[in-house]
């Protein structure tokens, strides 16, 4: 694949970078990234990856756009309320960059469909909002040997880590299993500063591009935590956990399964 004149102009600020150049840009155009969740994290990730010219972007999301999403899920506009999130995201991506092929999956990521979907992609971005999905993505990427960026946000805090399965610490190396039922309040009770999703989702997109172009040092074996109130970033060093139930020495998890959603109701919540 070689770049046409329009593309040379569109991507000129990339191409001028010695580390990217025309070859790097062509690589991006030939790359495929899957974004699981077109929400707070997935929005900026999808917008920047589209603008960057990542040739194929897949988006999984079973939801429709809701008024409460618009405070942070910047790929969706007021006029999209009620529209499938994957459709809304697809429209924006196409509007930004017609070079991008968008594949949409209007469904929940589940144990019985996710491996087949991620197999097609080079890199996965976890932009989900719940723990069962986060564990499912971690495990599916392990079995399919796909690199991915994990992230989470709450209130004024965010964190992310890049995982190269079997090579670097995975999500289960840190968090063995989802938190027990009854301790996790639902998302709407805690709140989140909207722009936080923009910061963390953009960092996830950065990691995707670095991985695709083999640039710099990835955020592996390191959990980057961000405190917006203190404006403090910390890199917490980690290593693979020999007791990890997925990638450890005596791994017990040998196949994908759906974890239960441990969300408690308000009455029984300890928060």
């Amino acid at each position: 694949m070689s770049l046409n004149e329009q593309q040379i102009e569109r991507y000129s600020r990339h191409i001028i970078l010695e580390e990217i150049g025309g070859i790097g840009q062509e690589k991006l155009l030939a790359s495929k990234v899957l974004i699981v969740g077109a929400g707070g994290l997935g929005s900026p990730a999808a917008l920047y990856l589209a603008a960057a010219g990542v040739g194929t972007i897949g988006i999984i999301d079973a939801d429709r756009v809701d008024l409460t999403n618009l405070q942070r899920q910047i790929i969706h506009h007021t006029s999209d309320i009620g529209v499938e999130k994957v459709k809304s995201a697809e429209n924006k991506i196409r509007a930004i960059n017609p070079d991008v092929t968008v594949k949409t999956y209007h469904q929940f990521a589940k144990a019985d469909n996710i491996r087949e979907i991620i197999r097609y992609y080079d890199f996965v971005i976890d932009g989900t909002d719940n723990f069962p999905a986060k564990f499912l993505i971690n495990d599916a990427c392990y079995f399919e040997k796909k690199p991915f960026s994990h992230a989470g946000i709450l209130k004024f805090y965010g964190q992310l880590i890049t995982v190269l399965p079997s090579k670097t610490a995975c999500y289960r190396c840190i968090f063995n299993a989802p938190p027990p039922a009854g301790v996790v309040p639902s998302c709407s009770q805690a709140g989140v500063l909207g722009v936080l999703a923009g910061v963390i989702g953009s960092l996830q997109a950065t990691e995707a591009i670095k991985y695709l172009l083999d640039l710099g040092k990835l955020l592996t074996n390191t959990l980057l935590t961000y405190d917006a109130l203190e404006m403090d970033f910390r890199a917490v060093k980690l290593s693979r956990n020999p007791n990890c139930p997925l990638c450890g020495e005596n791994a017990e998890i040998t196949e994908l399964k759906d974890e239960e959603q441990p969300v408690c109701d308000l009455k029984n919540c300890k928060c």
Binding site: F131, G152, L154, K155, P179
Partner: protein, 71 residues
């Protein structure tokens, strides 16, 4: 004794266990925290019997979903 907790030096009483440190640091929901001690992730069952020593580096790593409370 001096410990480094989440990157910050803190002065704490001798002989503290990881479970006690979680209480001392006012972690409201310990079920939502993984603990890394000097670079090693502890099993939950080790919290009770692991005694901390001068200079130990402890990290509390919080579960974060999409706007879930962990502190």
């Amino acid at each position: 004794m001096k410990l480094i907790v989440n990157g910050k030096e803190d002065n704490l009483v001798e002989g503290l266990t990881v479970s006690q440190l979680l209480i001392e640091q006012k972690v409201k929901m310990p079920e939502m925290v993984s603990v890394e001690l000097n670079g090693r992730i502890l099993k939950r069952s080790e919290f009770e019997n692991t005694t901390l020593n001068e200079g130990d580096k402890v990290e509390f790593l919080y579960f974060m979903g999409g706007g879930n409370v962990t502190k």
